[in-house]
Protein backbone atom coordinates (compact mmCIF):
# COMPACT_ATOMS: atom_id res chain seq x y z
CA UNK A 1 0.00 0.00 0.00
CA UNK A 2 1.40 3.39 -1.00
CA UNK A 3 1.26 6.61 0.94
CA UNK A 4 -2.11 8.24 1.54
CA UNK A 5 -2.26 11.81 0.34
CA UNK A 6 -5.13 14.14 1.10
CA UNK A 7 -5.27 17.36 -0.94
CA UNK A 8 -7.61 20.14 0.15
CA UNK A 9 -8.71 22.36 -2.73
CA UNK A 10 -9.60 21.66 -6.32
CA UNK A 11 -7.78 24.40 -8.14
CA UNK A 12 -4.62 24.23 -10.23
CA UNK A 13 -2.43 23.90 -7.12
CA UNK A 14 -4.14 20.69 -5.97
CA UNK A 15 -4.58 19.23 -9.46
CA UNK A 16 -0.93 19.84 -10.42
CA UNK A 17 0.10 18.24 -7.11
CA UNK A 18 -2.10 15.22 -7.78
CA UNK A 19 -0.48 14.77 -11.20
CA UNK A 20 3.00 15.04 -9.72
CA UNK A 21 2.21 12.53 -6.96
CA UNK A 22 0.75 10.10 -9.47
CA UNK A 23 3.72 10.37 -11.82
CA UNK A 24 6.16 9.75 -8.95
CA UNK A 25 4.19 7.01 -7.20
CA UNK A 26 1.79 4.80 -9.16
CA UNK A 27 0.63 3.11 -5.96
CA UNK A 28 -0.17 6.23 -3.92
CA UNK A 29 -3.69 6.82 -2.69
CA UNK A 30 -4.81 10.35 -3.54
CA UNK A 31 -7.93 11.94 -2.10
CA UNK A 32 -8.91 15.41 -3.29
CA UNK A 33 -11.35 17.38 -1.12
CA UNK A 34 -12.99 20.31 -2.90
CA UNK A 35 -15.90 22.44 -1.75
CA UNK A 36 -16.76 23.89 -5.16
CA UNK A 37 -19.62 21.92 -6.68
CA UNK A 38 -18.31 22.69 -10.17
CA UNK A 39 -15.04 20.88 -9.53
CA UNK A 40 -11.86 21.93 -11.31
CA UNK A 41 -12.14 24.80 -13.80
CA UNK A 42 -10.19 27.80 -15.02
CA UNK A 43 -10.82 30.80 -12.79
CA UNK A 44 -9.08 33.21 -15.19
CA UNK A 45 -11.38 31.77 -17.88
CA UNK A 46 -14.36 33.20 -15.94
CA UNK A 47 -13.53 36.58 -17.48
CA UNK A 48 -13.98 35.15 -20.99
CA UNK A 49 -17.10 33.31 -19.92
CA UNK A 50 -18.54 36.55 -18.56
CA UNK A 51 -17.59 38.34 -21.77
CA UNK A 52 -19.51 35.65 -23.74
CA UNK A 53 -16.42 34.35 -25.52
CA UNK A 54 -16.68 30.82 -24.26
CA UNK A 55 -19.50 28.58 -23.02
CA UNK A 56 -19.44 27.36 -19.45
CA UNK A 57 -18.60 23.75 -20.21
CA UNK A 58 -15.32 24.76 -21.88
CA UNK A 59 -14.01 26.19 -18.62
CA UNK A 60 -13.12 22.70 -17.41
CA UNK A 61 -9.58 21.76 -18.47
CA UNK A 62 -9.79 18.07 -17.60
CA UNK A 63 -12.27 15.74 -19.24
CA UNK A 64 -13.88 13.01 -17.14
CA UNK A 65 -11.39 10.55 -18.67
CA UNK A 66 -8.49 12.89 -17.86
CA UNK A 67 -9.53 12.97 -14.21
CA UNK A 68 -10.13 9.22 -14.15
CA UNK A 69 -6.64 8.72 -15.57
CA UNK A 70 -5.21 10.25 -12.40
CA UNK A 71 -7.02 7.65 -10.30
CA UNK A 72 -8.14 10.09 -7.62
CA UNK A 73 -10.87 9.83 -5.06
CA UNK A 74 -12.81 13.08 -5.20
CA UNK A 75 -14.72 14.23 -2.14
CA UNK A 76 -17.01 17.14 -2.94
CA UNK A 77 -17.24 18.66 0.53
CA UNK A 78 -15.73 21.36 2.68
CA UNK A 79 -12.91 20.45 5.03
CA UNK A 80 -13.76 21.90 8.42
CA UNK A 81 -10.73 21.05 10.49
CA UNK A 82 -7.31 19.42 10.58
CA UNK A 83 -5.84 17.46 13.48
CA UNK A 84 -2.14 17.41 12.65
CA UNK A 85 -1.25 15.15 15.59
CA UNK A 86 -3.74 12.47 14.59
CA UNK A 87 -3.11 13.10 10.85
CA UNK A 88 -6.81 13.60 10.22
CA UNK A 89 -8.98 15.97 8.18
CA UNK A 90 -12.52 16.59 9.42
CA UNK A 91 -15.18 17.14 6.76
CA UNK A 92 -18.39 19.15 7.08
CA UNK A 93 -20.43 15.91 6.92
CA UNK A 94 -18.65 14.69 10.04
CA UNK A 95 -16.56 12.16 8.12
CA UNK A 96 -12.83 12.05 8.78
CA UNK A 97 -9.98 11.32 6.42
CA UNK A 98 -6.63 9.98 7.58
CA UNK A 99 -3.49 11.12 5.76
CA UNK A 100 0.22 10.42 5.62
CA UNK A 101 0.82 13.68 3.75
CA UNK A 102 -1.58 16.61 3.51
CA UNK A 103 -1.65 19.44 0.99
CA UNK A 104 -3.54 22.65 1.67
CA UNK A 105 -4.34 24.48 -1.57
CA UNK A 106 -7.43 26.40 -0.57
CA UNK A 107 -6.72 29.45 -2.76
CA UNK A 108 -7.88 32.95 -1.99
CA UNK A 109 -11.13 34.78 -1.64
CA UNK A 110 -12.40 38.29 -2.33
CA UNK A 111 -12.22 40.89 0.42
CA UNK A 112 -15.74 42.22 1.03
CA UNK A 113 -16.54 45.93 0.94
CA UNK A 114 -16.72 47.55 4.35
CA UNK A 115 -19.31 50.20 3.65
CA UNK A 116 -22.88 50.50 4.93
CA UNK A 117 -25.16 48.42 2.70
CA UNK A 118 -22.49 45.90 1.69
CA UNK A 119 -24.81 43.06 2.77
CA UNK A 120 -27.63 44.07 0.39
CA UNK A 121 -28.89 41.74 -2.31
CA UNK A 122 -27.20 42.83 -5.55
CA UNK A 123 -23.69 43.32 -4.15
CA UNK A 124 -21.54 40.88 -6.14
CA UNK A 125 -17.94 39.64 -6.45
CA UNK A 126 -16.07 37.36 -8.84
CA UNK A 127 -14.36 34.49 -7.02
CA UNK A 128 -15.82 31.44 -8.68
CA UNK A 129 -18.19 30.03 -11.27
CA UNK A 130 -21.24 30.50 -9.04
CA UNK A 131 -20.34 34.20 -8.77
CA UNK A 132 -19.98 34.48 -12.56
CA UNK A 133 -23.38 32.86 -13.05
CA UNK A 134 -24.84 35.14 -10.39
CA UNK A 135 -23.53 38.21 -12.26
CA UNK A 136 -24.94 36.88 -15.56
CA UNK A 137 -28.33 36.15 -14.00
CA UNK A 138 -28.54 39.57 -12.36
CA UNK A 139 -27.43 41.33 -15.54
CA UNK A 140 -30.65 40.32 -17.27
CA UNK A 141 -32.92 43.29 -16.76
CA UNK A 142 -30.34 45.33 -14.84
CA UNK A 143 -29.95 48.85 -16.09
CA UNK A 144 -26.93 50.06 -14.27
CA UNK A 145 -24.03 48.70 -12.24
CA UNK A 146 -21.35 50.36 -10.15
CA UNK A 147 -17.94 48.66 -10.03
CA UNK A 148 -15.40 49.54 -7.36
CA UNK A 149 -11.85 48.33 -6.98
CA UNK A 150 -8.76 48.06 -9.04
CA UNK A 151 -6.49 45.85 -11.07
CA UNK A 152 -7.52 43.09 -13.40
CA UNK A 153 -10.62 41.65 -11.74
CA UNK A 154 -12.42 45.00 -11.57
CA UNK A 155 -11.92 45.47 -15.32
CA UNK A 156 -12.99 41.91 -16.07
CA UNK A 157 -16.24 42.54 -14.23
CA UNK A 158 -16.66 45.88 -16.03
CA UNK A 159 -16.22 44.15 -19.40
CA UNK A 160 -18.46 41.25 -18.46
CA UNK A 161 -21.29 43.55 -17.39
CA UNK A 162 -20.82 45.62 -20.52
CA UNK A 163 -21.03 42.46 -22.68
CA UNK A 164 -24.38 41.74 -21.02
CA UNK A 165 -25.70 45.16 -21.92
CA UNK A 166 -25.45 46.70 -18.46
CA UNK A 167 -24.33 50.32 -18.20
CA UNK A 168 -21.30 50.58 -15.91
CA UNK A 169 -20.08 53.36 -13.64
CA UNK A 170 -16.52 52.50 -12.57
CA UNK A 171 -15.20 54.21 -9.43
CA UNK A 172 -11.57 54.65 -8.59
CA UNK A 173 -10.20 56.47 -5.59
CA UNK A 174 -7.24 58.10 -7.28
CA UNK A 175 -6.46 60.04 -10.41
CA UNK A 176 -5.92 56.95 -12.54
CA UNK A 177 -6.29 53.20 -13.03
CA UNK A 178 -3.86 50.72 -11.32
CA UNK A 179 -1.52 53.50 -10.36
CA UNK A 180 1.19 51.47 -8.61
CA UNK A 181 1.80 49.15 -11.57
CA UNK A 182 0.91 51.01 -14.77
CA UNK A 183 2.48 54.23 -16.04
CA UNK A 184 0.40 57.34 -16.46
CA UNK A 185 0.12 56.80 -20.22
CA UNK A 186 -0.85 53.15 -19.82
CA UNK A 187 -3.56 54.04 -17.29
CA UNK A 188 -4.92 56.67 -19.64
CA UNK A 189 -4.92 54.29 -22.62
CA UNK A 190 -7.03 51.85 -20.56
CA UNK A 191 -9.39 54.56 -19.31
CA UNK A 192 -9.85 55.92 -22.82
CA UNK A 193 -10.67 52.45 -24.15
CA UNK A 194 -13.25 52.06 -21.39
CA UNK A 195 -14.73 55.45 -22.14
CA UNK A 196 -14.94 54.53 -25.84
CA UNK A 197 -17.12 51.57 -24.87
CA UNK A 198 -19.51 53.74 -22.95
CA UNK A 199 -18.21 52.91 -19.47
CA UNK A 200 -18.30 55.97 -17.24
CA UNK A 201 -15.02 56.22 -15.34
CA UNK A 202 -15.13 58.26 -12.11
CA UNK A 203 -11.70 59.26 -10.85
CA UNK A 204 -11.24 60.42 -7.25
CA UNK A 205 -14.48 58.72 -6.31
CA UNK A 206 -15.06 56.87 -3.09
CA UNK A 207 -17.92 54.47 -2.49
CA UNK A 208 -19.39 55.81 0.76
CA UNK A 209 -22.38 53.52 1.04
CA UNK A 210 -24.84 51.31 -0.80
CA UNK A 211 -28.47 52.28 -0.54
CA UNK A 212 -31.22 49.70 -0.66
CA UNK A 213 -34.93 49.35 -1.22
CA UNK A 214 -36.66 46.24 0.18
CA UNK A 215 -33.27 44.69 0.91
CA UNK A 216 -32.00 45.15 -2.65
CA UNK A 217 -29.45 47.53 -4.11
CA UNK A 218 -31.07 50.68 -5.45
CA UNK A 219 -28.24 53.23 -5.57
CA UNK A 220 -24.82 54.12 -4.24
CA UNK A 221 -23.67 57.19 -2.37
CA UNK A 222 -20.26 58.65 -3.20
CA UNK A 223 -17.85 60.29 -0.79
CA UNK A 224 -18.63 63.72 -2.26
CA UNK A 225 -22.34 63.31 -1.68
CA UNK A 226 -23.61 62.17 -5.09
CA UNK A 227 -26.23 59.48 -5.48
CA UNK A 228 -26.06 57.15 -8.47
CA UNK A 229 -28.98 54.77 -9.06
CA UNK A 230 -27.98 51.18 -9.93
CA UNK A 231 -29.17 47.58 -9.63
CA UNK A 232 -25.79 45.98 -9.00
CA UNK A 233 -22.62 46.83 -7.13
CA UNK A 234 -19.53 44.77 -7.93
CA UNK A 235 -16.61 44.83 -5.53
CA UNK A 236 -13.06 43.87 -6.54
CA UNK A 237 -10.83 45.46 -3.93
CA UNK A 238 -8.44 42.53 -3.57
CA UNK A 239 -8.20 39.05 -2.13
CA UNK A 240 -6.84 37.34 0.92
CA UNK A 241 -5.50 33.82 1.20
CA UNK A 242 -7.82 31.26 2.78
CA UNK A 243 -5.68 30.39 5.77
CA UNK A 244 -8.46 29.79 8.31
CA UNK A 245 -8.11 25.99 8.30
CA UNK A 246 -4.33 26.13 8.61
CA UNK A 247 -4.41 28.72 11.37
CA UNK A 248 -7.00 26.79 13.38
CA UNK A 249 -4.79 23.71 13.05
CA UNK A 250 -1.92 25.62 14.63
CA UNK A 251 0.22 25.91 11.48
CA UNK A 252 2.43 28.99 11.25
CA UNK A 253 0.75 31.63 9.09
CA UNK A 254 1.50 35.15 7.97
CA UNK A 255 -0.57 36.51 5.11
CA UNK A 256 -0.48 32.94 3.79
CA UNK A 257 0.71 29.60 5.16
CA UNK A 258 4.39 29.97 5.90
CA UNK A 259 6.31 27.31 3.97
CA UNK A 260 9.96 26.37 3.53
CA UNK A 261 11.69 25.99 0.18
CA UNK A 262 10.07 22.54 -0.24
CA UNK A 263 6.65 24.08 0.42
CA UNK A 264 6.40 22.31 3.77
CA UNK A 265 4.48 24.11 6.47
CA UNK A 266 5.52 24.25 10.12
CA UNK A 267 4.30 20.63 10.34
CA UNK A 268 6.55 18.37 8.29
CA UNK A 269 3.71 16.23 6.92
CA UNK A 270 1.63 19.20 5.79
CA UNK A 271 2.44 21.09 2.60
CA UNK A 272 0.83 24.14 1.01
CA UNK A 273 0.61 25.23 -2.63
CA UNK A 274 -1.14 27.80 -4.79
CA UNK A 275 -2.34 31.23 -3.67
CA UNK A 276 -2.39 30.20 -0.01
CA UNK A 277 1.33 29.36 0.29
CA UNK A 278 3.75 32.06 1.39
CA UNK A 279 7.31 31.02 0.51
CA UNK A 280 10.52 33.01 0.69
CA UNK A 281 11.62 34.69 -2.53
CA UNK A 282 15.29 33.81 -2.77
CA UNK A 283 15.98 36.89 -4.85
CA UNK A 284 14.94 39.25 -2.04
CA UNK A 285 15.07 36.96 1.00
CA UNK A 286 11.54 38.10 1.89
CA UNK A 287 8.30 36.18 2.10
CA UNK A 288 6.14 36.74 -0.93
CA UNK A 289 2.55 36.14 -2.09
CA UNK A 290 1.49 35.39 -5.65
CA UNK A 291 -2.08 35.08 -6.91
CA UNK A 292 -1.17 33.65 -10.28
CA UNK A 293 -2.39 30.56 -12.10
CA UNK A 294 1.04 29.53 -13.32
CA UNK A 295 2.65 30.00 -9.92
CA UNK A 296 -0.11 27.83 -8.41
CA UNK A 297 0.67 25.10 -10.95
CA UNK A 298 4.41 25.27 -10.30
CA UNK A 299 3.91 25.22 -6.55
CA UNK A 300 1.53 22.28 -6.89
CA UNK A 301 4.00 20.28 -8.96
CA UNK A 302 6.81 20.97 -6.51
CA UNK A 303 4.76 20.12 -3.42
CA UNK A 304 3.33 17.00 -5.05
CA UNK A 305 6.73 15.65 -5.94
CA UNK A 306 8.06 16.31 -2.45
CA UNK A 307 5.02 14.69 -0.85
CA UNK A 308 5.37 11.57 -2.98
CA UNK A 309 9.11 11.19 -2.38
CA UNK A 310 11.06 13.12 0.25
CA UNK A 311 11.57 16.89 0.32
CA UNK A 312 13.98 17.10 -2.61
CA UNK A 313 12.76 19.76 -4.95
CA UNK A 314 12.93 23.42 -3.96
CA UNK A 315 10.35 25.92 -5.24
CA UNK A 316 11.79 28.85 -7.11
CA UNK A 317 9.68 31.95 -6.92
CA UNK A 318 11.13 33.19 -10.19
CA UNK A 319 10.16 36.37 -11.95
CA UNK A 320 6.39 36.58 -12.22
CA UNK A 321 4.52 37.11 -15.44
CA UNK A 322 0.91 37.68 -16.29
CA UNK A 323 -0.81 38.29 -19.56
CA UNK A 324 -4.21 39.82 -19.38
CA UNK A 325 -6.60 41.97 -21.31
CA UNK A 326 -7.12 45.46 -20.03
CA UNK A 327 -10.16 46.97 -21.72
CA UNK A 328 -9.53 44.77 -24.76
CA UNK A 329 -5.77 45.38 -24.96
CA UNK A 330 -3.58 42.32 -24.56
CA UNK A 331 -1.12 43.27 -21.85
CA UNK A 332 1.89 41.39 -20.52
CA UNK A 333 3.46 42.39 -17.23
CA UNK A 334 6.83 40.88 -16.35
CA UNK A 335 9.00 41.45 -13.26
CA UNK A 336 9.33 44.75 -11.39
CA UNK A 337 7.55 47.55 -13.17
CA UNK A 338 5.75 49.46 -10.47
CA UNK A 339 6.16 52.82 -8.90
CA UNK A 340 6.28 51.39 -5.38
CA UNK A 341 3.63 51.79 -2.74
CA UNK A 342 0.16 50.38 -2.80
CA UNK A 343 -2.87 50.99 -4.94
CA UNK A 344 -5.56 52.93 -3.13
CA UNK A 345 -8.22 50.89 -4.95
CA UNK A 346 -6.91 47.59 -3.59
CA UNK A 347 -6.76 46.37 -0.01
CA UNK A 348 -4.56 43.38 -0.68
CA UNK A 349 -3.22 41.53 -3.61
CA UNK A 350 -5.61 41.04 -6.46
CA UNK A 351 -6.21 38.11 -8.77
CA UNK A 352 -3.54 37.64 -11.43
CA UNK A 353 -1.20 39.66 -9.26
CA UNK A 354 2.23 39.35 -7.79
CA UNK A 355 3.82 41.49 -5.16
CA UNK A 356 6.83 41.98 -7.42
CA UNK A 357 5.09 44.20 -9.99
CA UNK A 358 4.55 47.02 -7.63
CA UNK A 359 8.03 46.89 -6.17
CA UNK A 360 10.20 49.88 -6.63
CA UNK A 361 13.45 49.04 -8.38
CA UNK A 362 16.36 51.34 -9.09
CA UNK A 363 15.82 50.80 -12.80
CA UNK A 364 15.18 53.54 -15.35
CA UNK A 365 11.81 53.43 -17.12
CA UNK A 366 11.69 53.75 -20.89
CA UNK A 367 8.40 53.98 -22.72
CA UNK A 368 7.84 53.74 -26.46
CA UNK A 369 5.30 52.93 -29.13
CA UNK A 370 6.67 50.21 -31.40
CA UNK A 371 5.26 47.67 -33.91
CA UNK A 372 1.64 48.04 -32.85
CA UNK A 373 2.51 47.86 -29.18
CA UNK A 374 3.12 50.21 -26.31
CA UNK A 375 6.23 49.00 -24.54
CA UNK A 376 7.70 50.03 -21.21
CA UNK A 377 11.00 48.69 -19.98
CA UNK A 378 12.58 48.98 -16.56
CA UNK A 379 16.25 49.02 -17.48
CA UNK A 380 18.74 48.28 -14.72
CA UNK A 381 22.46 48.58 -14.92
CA UNK A 382 23.05 45.16 -16.49
CA UNK A 383 19.68 43.47 -16.64
CA UNK A 384 16.08 44.31 -17.46
CA UNK A 385 14.10 44.46 -14.22
CA UNK A 386 10.69 44.32 -15.87
CA UNK A 387 8.49 45.19 -18.82
CA UNK A 388 4.93 46.00 -19.80
CA UNK A 389 3.79 45.27 -23.36
CA UNK A 390 0.34 46.46 -24.41
CA UNK A 391 -1.10 45.54 -27.81
CA UNK A 392 0.88 43.33 -30.22
CA UNK A 393 2.67 40.76 -28.08
CA UNK A 394 5.59 39.83 -30.39
CA UNK A 395 8.16 41.69 -28.35
CA UNK A 396 6.91 40.25 -25.07
CA UNK A 397 8.45 36.83 -25.82
CA UNK A 398 12.07 37.97 -26.15
CA UNK A 399 11.50 40.27 -23.18
CA UNK A 400 10.18 37.38 -21.10
CA UNK A 401 13.31 35.35 -21.90
CA UNK A 402 15.74 38.16 -21.17
CA UNK A 403 14.06 39.26 -17.94
CA UNK A 404 13.40 35.81 -16.50
CA UNK A 405 16.97 34.68 -17.27
CA UNK A 406 18.29 37.95 -15.83
CA UNK A 407 20.33 38.10 -19.05
CA UNK A 408 23.09 40.65 -19.31
CA UNK A 409 21.84 43.57 -21.41
CA UNK A 410 24.73 45.87 -20.55
CA UNK A 411 25.65 46.08 -24.24
CA UNK A 412 22.32 47.71 -25.17
CA UNK A 413 21.42 49.53 -21.93
CA UNK A 414 22.85 52.88 -23.01
CA UNK A 415 21.29 52.66 -26.48
CA UNK A 416 17.91 51.78 -24.99
CA UNK A 417 18.01 54.92 -22.87
CA UNK A 418 18.96 57.18 -25.82
CA UNK A 419 16.25 59.44 -27.24
CA UNK A 420 14.43 57.87 -30.20
CA UNK A 421 15.94 54.43 -29.55
CA UNK A 422 14.55 51.59 -31.62
CA UNK A 423 13.58 49.43 -28.68
CA UNK A 424 12.22 46.50 -30.71
CA UNK A 425 15.36 46.11 -32.80
CA UNK A 426 17.67 46.45 -29.81
CA UNK A 427 15.75 43.93 -27.72
CA UNK A 428 15.34 41.41 -30.54
CA UNK A 429 18.99 41.76 -31.49
CA UNK A 430 20.18 41.15 -27.95
CA UNK A 431 17.72 38.25 -27.57
CA UNK A 432 19.02 36.53 -30.73
CA UNK A 433 22.58 36.89 -29.50
CA UNK A 434 21.58 35.53 -26.09
CA UNK A 435 19.82 32.54 -27.67
CA UNK A 436 22.88 31.76 -29.80
CA UNK A 437 25.08 31.93 -26.71
CA UNK A 438 22.72 29.51 -24.93
CA UNK A 439 22.74 27.07 -27.85
Amino acid sequence: MGRRHVLIGMGPGAIAAAEAIRSADAGAEIVVVGADRHGYYSRPGLAYYLAKEIPEKWLHPLSAEGLAGLDLTIVNERADGIDTKAHRVMLESGRELVYDRLLIATGSTAIPAKVPGAELDGVVKLDDLDDANDIIRRSAGAKGAVVVGGGITALEIVEGLHAHGVHVDYFMRQDRYWKNVLSETESHVVEQELGGRGVRVHNYTELAGILGRDGRVAAVATGDGKRIPCDLVAVAIGVHARIELARAAGLACGRGILVDEYLRSSDEDVYAAGDVAEPVDHGTGLRTMEVLWNSAVRKGRTAGLNMATEPVRAYETGIPLNVTRLAGLKTTIIGSVGSGGRDADLEGLQRGDSQTWSELGDAVAIEAQTHGARVRLAVGERALAGAVVMGDQSLSFPLQDLIQARADVGSIAADLKAAGASIAELVEGRWREWREQLA
Binding site: G45, W58, D401
Partner: protein, 89 residues
Protein backbone atom coordinates in the same frame (compact mmCIF):
# COMPACT_ATOMS: atom_id res chain seq x y z
CA UNK B 1 9.11 35.68 -35.10
CA UNK B 2 6.81 33.58 -37.20
CA UNK B 3 3.38 35.05 -36.65
CA UNK B 4 0.63 33.94 -38.92
CA UNK B 5 -0.40 36.80 -41.18
CA UNK B 6 -1.63 35.85 -44.67
CA UNK B 7 -2.84 32.89 -46.72
CA UNK B 8 0.57 32.58 -48.25
CA UNK B 9 2.09 32.19 -44.81
CA UNK B 10 -0.65 29.76 -43.89
CA UNK B 11 0.33 27.38 -46.69
CA UNK B 12 3.95 27.71 -45.77
CA UNK B 13 3.00 26.98 -42.16
CA UNK B 14 1.09 23.88 -43.20
CA UNK B 15 4.22 22.34 -44.67
CA UNK B 16 6.78 23.37 -42.13
CA UNK B 17 5.28 24.64 -38.89
CA UNK B 18 3.12 23.63 -36.00
CA UNK B 19 1.34 25.50 -33.25
CA UNK B 20 3.77 26.07 -30.42
CA UNK B 21 2.71 27.35 -26.99
CA UNK B 22 4.44 29.35 -24.29
CA UNK B 23 3.01 27.29 -21.41
CA UNK B 24 3.92 29.67 -18.61
CA UNK B 25 1.39 32.19 -19.97
CA UNK B 26 -1.52 29.75 -20.20
CA UNK B 27 -4.41 29.86 -17.73
CA UNK B 28 -6.25 26.85 -19.21
CA UNK B 29 -9.24 28.99 -20.13
CA UNK B 30 -10.20 26.74 -23.06
CA UNK B 31 -10.78 29.47 -25.65
CA UNK B 32 -8.30 27.78 -28.06
CA UNK B 33 -9.89 24.33 -27.83
CA UNK B 34 -13.38 25.81 -28.12
CA UNK B 35 -12.45 27.63 -31.32
CA UNK B 36 -10.55 24.83 -33.05
CA UNK B 37 -12.76 23.82 -36.00
CA UNK B 38 -11.82 20.16 -35.64
CA UNK B 39 -11.87 20.11 -31.85
CA UNK B 40 -8.22 19.41 -31.24
CA UNK B 41 -7.68 19.88 -27.51
CA UNK B 42 -5.08 22.61 -27.92
CA UNK B 43 -5.32 23.49 -24.22
CA UNK B 44 -4.17 19.99 -23.24
CA UNK B 45 -1.10 20.27 -25.48
CA UNK B 46 -0.27 23.55 -23.76
CA UNK B 47 -0.65 22.01 -20.28
CA UNK B 48 1.77 19.26 -21.30
CA UNK B 49 4.14 21.84 -22.79
CA UNK B 50 3.96 20.29 -26.25
CA UNK B 51 3.42 21.67 -29.74
CA UNK B 52 0.16 20.67 -31.43
CA UNK B 53 1.56 17.64 -33.22
CA UNK B 54 -1.88 16.37 -34.18
CA UNK B 55 -1.77 15.35 -37.85
CA UNK B 56 -5.34 16.62 -38.30
CA UNK B 57 -4.27 20.22 -37.57
CA UNK B 58 -5.30 22.42 -40.50
CA UNK B 59 -2.92 25.18 -39.45
CA UNK B 60 -5.92 27.45 -39.83
CA UNK B 61 -4.54 29.72 -37.13
CA UNK B 62 -7.88 30.04 -35.32
CA UNK B 63 -6.49 28.98 -31.93
CA UNK B 64 -3.59 31.40 -32.36
CA UNK B 65 -5.89 34.25 -33.24
CA UNK B 66 -8.37 33.59 -30.43
CA UNK B 67 -6.07 32.92 -27.48
CA UNK B 68 -6.75 35.97 -25.32
CA UNK B 69 -3.20 35.86 -23.98
CA UNK B 70 -1.43 35.57 -27.32
CA UNK B 71 0.72 32.63 -26.26
CA UNK B 72 0.29 30.40 -29.31
CA UNK B 73 2.27 30.84 -32.49
CA UNK B 74 3.42 28.99 -35.54
CA UNK B 75 6.97 27.86 -35.25
CA UNK B 76 8.99 26.04 -37.88
CA UNK B 77 9.07 22.37 -36.88
CA UNK B 78 12.85 22.28 -37.24
CA UNK B 79 13.22 25.13 -34.72
CA UNK B 80 11.49 23.34 -31.85
CA UNK B 81 14.23 20.80 -31.29
CA UNK B 82 12.19 17.66 -31.07
CA UNK B 83 8.98 19.26 -29.98
CA UNK B 84 9.22 20.59 -26.44
CA UNK B 85 7.89 24.05 -25.80
CA UNK B 86 9.82 26.45 -23.59
CA UNK B 87 9.05 25.81 -19.95
CA UNK B 88 7.29 22.57 -20.84
CA UNK B 89 7.65 19.55 -18.62
Amino acid sequence: MSWFKSDREKYAALATAWVLPEPSRCVQCGVCSFNCPIEIDVRRHVWLGEPVKDSRCLTCGECIKRCPRGLLRFEPIAATHGGRARGGR
